[in-house]
């Protein structure tokens, strides 16, 4: 089984988010980068579990600059066999998807995995776009993935509940919470990661279709109005007359 896992670097979940240059640029000051939790905890770990029991290999792919290398090494330390970095700023989701698809087309992967979204852009776009560019089915928001032979059984979130689906190789899947448990890399993994292949490949030409004009922070709350636990009638009155939400 040959699996490709798409890995993205994101600010740690506890990061304070700020912007500089009039909201044009993310303020990296004091920010720790990690592998996007959905890519790492669920997609990558499940991919490793599958090849550990059934044989095969797990490669990771990232579209980014050399600043991404430490997070890619982290994925290798957790257990991926090798990594590819397409050497470019990830300018928009279509650009990134196109690079990943162009690489995957040459390699015949059985499963292409992504996290359900990154925690910085929250776009949930890459898996769906890559699957279209590869002409593969896309199982989105999957919380369970099992494989027998070349058929996978998955559980995924749909509006009506949890759907159980079956799909043949090859396919694209986005991983949500529940697909696997987080793994902490051990010292041997960290040492091994230093010598595992990280292939750097130039990007293909592709004009971005979208761009971010600027960022801003949500307007802060004007202050909390405190109520006595005995005055819940007053709270209801405020919710009705002042803020008009009930």
């Amino acid at each position: 089984m040959k699996i490709l896992v798409c890995i993205s670097k994101v600010p740690d979940t506890t990061s304070k988010i700020n912007f500089v240059d009039n909201g044009k640029k993310f303020d990296e000051n004091g920010v720790q980068y990690v592998v996007n939790p959905y890519d790492e905890w669920y997609a990558l770990v499940r991919a490793l579990e599958l090849v550990e029991t059934q044989g095969g290999s797990v490669s990771t792919i990232t579209v980014g600059t050399s600043a991404d290398d430490p997070t890619i090494r982290k994925a290798l330390a957790i257990g991926a066999n090798d990594a590819v970095r397409i050497d470019a700023e990830p300018v928009d989701s279509f650009f990134v998807s196109k690079q990943i698809a162009n690489y995957a087309l040459k390699e015949n992967f059985d499963i292409v995995m992504t996290g359900k979204e990154t925690i910085n852009y929250n776009g949930a776009q890459i898996g769906a776009m890559v699957s279209e560019l590869l002409d593969m089915p896309f199982v989105s928001l999957a919380s369970k993935l099992d494989v027998v032979g070349n058929v996978a059984t998955l559980e995924r979130d749909v509006q009506a509940g949890i759907e159980v689906v079956e799909v043949e190789f090859p396919f694209v899947v986005s991983a949500s919470k529940g697909m696997a448990e987080q793994r902490i890399p051990n010292m041997r993994g960290i040492m091994a990661a230093r010598t595992k292949p990280l292939n750097i490949i130039p990007a293909d030409d592709q004009k971005p279709l979208t761009s971010v004009l600027k960022f801003e922070l949500p307007s802060p709350k004007t202050g909390c109005k405190y109520l006595d636990p005995e005055s819940m009638d007053e709270l209801v009155e405020l919710l009705h007359n002042e803020s008009k939400v009930i």
């Binding site: 989105s140 759907e163 799909v167 919710l239 803020s243």
Partner: protein, 315 residues
């Protein structure tokens, strides 16, 4: 300007569908594409929100991403649409970016506003899991916009409506649907306008009755914090926050949740936040509109009684 709006219908018109049609109507003349066997009264109700043409693909009851993508792309071509609007729900997440990639159109994921008044088409979306807002500009002629539920209010805007069957060869889906474990009745969290949520302060799953009582009185959906879902007190689909569901209800009531930055990220799109906590230093109070320093075990039942009194005074 021709606008194609994709909606999924059950036996009633969902709020998300009304929002998507309202959004489309603000941009131009709306054609709705949908599938399945929704009854005529549900179809024609879309005219109340501005749908001029309604196309229904009848012989399809299962959402398969490649088939739906083909349905949307073919109907967009037929109506020469410059905008394709979807709801950013589970189906929208699977299909919206796929449609955009197929026709090489720019895609906005989770728009929370109508376009800004600027030269190029620009809309706001939530990024950094709700900790920031991005203004996204789309450069392509055709634009695919997936709108986040509860971001805009549905507006009635009655037009003359025609309903017709849409017939095209859409190919076959490659995902076989074997089973569905339904969530049960009630409004799904992302669409809920009123949400009552609780965390570790409730001390155990057996104490959730007071949360459910309040939710029932209000007609609200229940939610929880991450630790509570992780230790199995509540189901995972109730977990709101950075790694759970991000929601933007009108009212979010949080009891016994201290307000970690990851939790606040998932709920700070809420219009009004009420925080109930015994600890006056709980960080959640900084993000709250109304705060009650007190024990959830006492405050929640009192609030439920107050809601019940209010509701009976309204009749």
């Amino acid at each position: 300007m021709s606008v194609l709006v994709f909606v999924e219908l059950k036996n009633k018109l969902s709020k998300a569908a009304k929002e998507a049609i309202t959004y489309g109507k603000k941009l131009g003349s709306v054609t709705v594409i949908t599938y399945g066997d929704a009854p005529d009264n549900v179809l024609s109700e879309m005219g109340e929100y501005g749908a001029e043409k309604i196309w229904v693909y009848r012989n399809l009851n299962e959402a398969n991403d490649q088939v739906l993508c083909s349905l949307i792309v073919k109907s967009a071509k037929k109506t020469d649409a410059e905008f394709i609007i979807l709801s950013q729900d589970q189906t929208g997440k699977a299909v919206g970016p796929r449609v955009a990639a197929k026709i090489e159109a720019g895609h906005v994921s989770g728009a929370i506003s109508l376009p800004e008044n600027s030269d190029e088409f620009t809309v706001k979306t939530n990024v950094y899991s709700g900790k920031a807002i991005a203004y996204v500009t789309v450069h392509s002629k055709i634009k695919v916009i997936s709108i986040l539920p509860n971001s805009i209010q549905p507006v009635e805007n009655k037009v003359d409506t025609s309903i017709s069957n849409f017939e095209e060869d859409l190919g076959l889906g490659r995902i076989k649907i074997k089973d569905l474990k339904p969530l049960g009745e009630g409004i799904p969290l992302p669409e809920a306008e009123l949400v009552v949520s609780a965390g570790r302060g409730l001390k155990g799953p057996e104490n959730w009755g007071i949360v459910e009582d309040l939710a029932k009185s209000l007609g609200a959906t229940t939610a929880c914090s991450r630790p509570v879902a992780d230790i199995g007190w509540r189901p995972h689909h109730e977990h709101v926050g950075q790694t759970g569901v991000a929601i933007r209800p009108n009212l979010y009531i949080a009891a016994g949740i201290s307000g970690a930055i990851q939790h606040i990220a998932g709920v700070n799109g809420s219009k009004v936040i009420v925080v109930i906590n015994t600890d006056p230093e709980a960080p959640f109070f900084k993000a709250a509109d109304y705060g009650v320093v007190g024990d959830a075990f006492e405050v929640l039942p009192k609030l439920t009684t107050a809601i019940n009194n209010f509701k009976s005074s309204q009749v």
